[in-house]
Amino acid sequence: MDLTFDEAEEAFRAECRAWIEENRPDPALPSGDTREGFGLHRVWERSLFDARWAVVSWPREYGGREASLWEWLIFEEEYYRAGAPQRVTQNGIFLLAPTLFAFGTKSQQDRYLPAMASAEETWCQGWSEPDAGSDLAAIRSRAVRDETEGGWRLTGQKTWTTRGAFCDRLFGLFRSDPEAARHRGLTYFLVDLRADGVTVRPVERLDGDEGFAEVFLEDVFVPDDDVLGEVHKGWEVAMATTGSERGLTLRSPGRFMATASRLVDLRRAAGDSVDPAAEDAVVRAYIDAEAYRWQTFWTVTRLAEGERIGAESSLVKLFWSELDVRMHETASELLGSSSELIDGPSADWMKGLQFALAGPIYAGTNEIQRNVVAERLLGLPRK
């Protein structure tokens, strides 16, 4: 056991820190879940890409630095520590990219990876449908073979598509074989949202931003080149992506450590008038963020040795999502009556609370994750 970073890693940390401090937008950008903010975030993403900070762990040919998993974690810690902007490219670089690396052809990788890393092309996820939420295998949007054109025609509706109103492309599952059993007969497609037959309707989220969208598809042509993985094998491909969403790649510890730290600052600023129970909650949040960090280091050591993690990613998702809610609720307690304000210095906490509350819903609800833990890790019988 050695719980120190080596010199090269410390140097990497210093380099990250210096660049981010120097280049971080100040004042902070408006929310990336609005049209105006999204455009400004694209510019920021482009500058990250140009300095090779957008996707540090990727191969050089696609804009990365071939950084180790440890270095990637260090980058994330520094990024959130500095309060740098949210990553509007996340659905591409953190969720689709791991799947493209695992299942994509070389020409798909060449075509899509650099453009997604530089934010030239932004991606949204198309899983959920009006009748398919937790029960994702219930999706109905269909893909019909078009032999003459050499591709597929998609028809149906996707919903709750994050930043769908601003993004260029969508990845998701469509039913290509209506005769097959539920989890079979699905195919993973990469869809151009500018194509004929696509209509996108923005939907306002809880926090008032147009962060959601409904995507309607009517006979939308997708060429064979934009099928990811094998035809009718989309479920397996999709599961690889949802694993990334629940686990490490989307929610590295850095972001929760930074929130915990800001919570400690908030407690200090409150002086002596703090309810001991609220103070206790601050301390707990801080310890929980530490626990999350060290559990991640424990896991990354295993990954670095070639082990794979499976249903454990459900534990990770439960932990970060509930920690995030607790931290923001604690902030509300400390802020007292000013917690309701959506202007002024405390507004970020209310914004953050509303976002945190989504954590137990997206990426597989926490009820579903607890079922997964009980059935797959503890071996309890399925109903």
Partner: protein, 368 residues
């Protein structure tokens, strides 16, 4: 960065697990409840023979020459078995304390020829003190090792009938002192780490037992483990243990490597491990129903140990009364976190932990 145990460390832990499965099954813990000394004899001797008591003792005095990272998994297994022995007090606290002080008594302790009890600076009572040869006691000048024969003991009774508690009256002075405030702080950290490790083991044992029961017990024509409410109780326990364990292992490393933040790391570990084990107890009982509510069932052996250890060597935040929330005289990490700049956002300041100013534990007299 490499956060994992070595093959040898895993082998040692597994060997201890196998040994305790044989020498300390629930019947043996039960016997300690009713038996004279409240201990095991055979399990203790077998552990001594294996060299487990001397894991952190230097080779020069016949020990293994290991450190807390080697020991932490072993202690976890003693928790799993609810071993009714002062192994934390002896192997984790007294052995390294005395060895570092150049005190001869370390050798006998690490070989199993003698054993020690202790009263943590947060606590008032010593466990198995009547059969211990030596008592580790703290006051504001440091840490002391007192022969039990020189102390007066008064028996108190724990909810965990295997834990034979004693109030201790002893004279502490220059002749009994084996270390100053720094040594005392280190000894306290070692004890708290040891108990945190045992709590992890207890939590895991409670979870495993309950998962087995939930698969086998049927109601409404189905195993109760197929009901979502039961699943979620047990998933919560798994979750709590999953995130407590890395804090405990990290704290072990921090002690072994003399990290400047060692005491805060130990506090965090103890806080999480206590909460996880207490949650495991509550959930285990709930999922067993009435059969878990009888002393005829083994569940209570682990549950009561978890309650006792959860509160010993400093309790978790949240379980501590609100009035104690801001005091520094507990194993709570709050004071450190609040008073120190949070390391995530501000430069880390290296510092020694201020030893809490409080009078010596109740019942101890000091030489004037």
């Amino acid at each position: 960065m490499h956060f994992a145990f070595t093959e040898e460390q895993i082998e040692l832990r597994n060997a201890v697990r196998d040994l305790l499965a044989k020498e300390c099954p629930p019947e043996v813990v039960r016997r300690a409840w009713s038996g004279g000394a409240g201990r095991t004899d055979r399990a203790w001797n077998a552990m001594a023979e294996m060299g487990v008591l001397g894991v952190v003792a230097p080779e020069a005095i016949g020990g293994i020459g290991g450190d807390e990272v080697d020991l932490v998994g072993v202690l976890e297994e003693t928790g799993r078995a609810a071993l009714p022995e002062p192994i934390v007090e002896t192997a984790a606290v007294a052995v390294p304390l005395l060895a570092e002080a150049g005190d001869d008594r370390a050798a006998a302790l690490s070989e199993g020829g003698a054993c020690a009890s202790a009263i943590a600076p947060t606590d008032d009572l010593a466990v198995w003190a009547d059969t211990a040869d030596l008592l580790v006691l703290f006051d504001d000048t440091g840490v002391h090792a007192v022969a039990t024969s020189d102390a007066e003991l008064e028996r108190r009774h724990s909810v965990d009938g295997a834990r034979r508690l004693h109030r201790v009256v002893a004279r502490l002075g220059d002749s009994t002192r084996v270390g100053g405030p720094d040594a005392a702080a280190l000894a306290f950290d070692r004890g708290a780490l040891g108990v945190a490790a045992q709590l992890l083991g207890l939590g895991a044992q409670l979870l495993d037992t309950t998962v087995d029961y939930a698969k086998q017990r049927e109601q409404f024509g189905a195993p109760i483990g197929s009901f979502q409410a039961v699943k979620h109780h047990l998933a919560n326990v798994r979750l709590a243990l999953e995130f407590a364990a890395p804090l405990v292992y990290r704290a072990a490393w921090s002690i072994a490597s003399r990290d400047g933040e060692r005491s805060v790391h130990v506090s965090m570990a103890k806080a999480h491990a206590s909460d996880a084990a207490v949650l495991a107890s509550r959930s285990a009982l709930q999922c067993h129903g009435a059969i878990g509510y009888t002393t005829e069932h083994d569940l209570h052996l682990w549950m009561k140990r978890a309650w006792a250890l959860g509160a010993a060597w400093g309790s978790a935040p949240g379980t501590a009364a609100a009035s104690r929330a801001r005091s520094c005289d507990d194993r709570r990490p709050g004071a450190e976190i609040m008073s120190e700049a949070a390391p995530y956002c501000t430069e880390r300041t290296r510092r020694g932990r201020a030893w809490p100013e409080r009078p010596g534990p109740k019942g101890q007299e000091r030489e004037s």
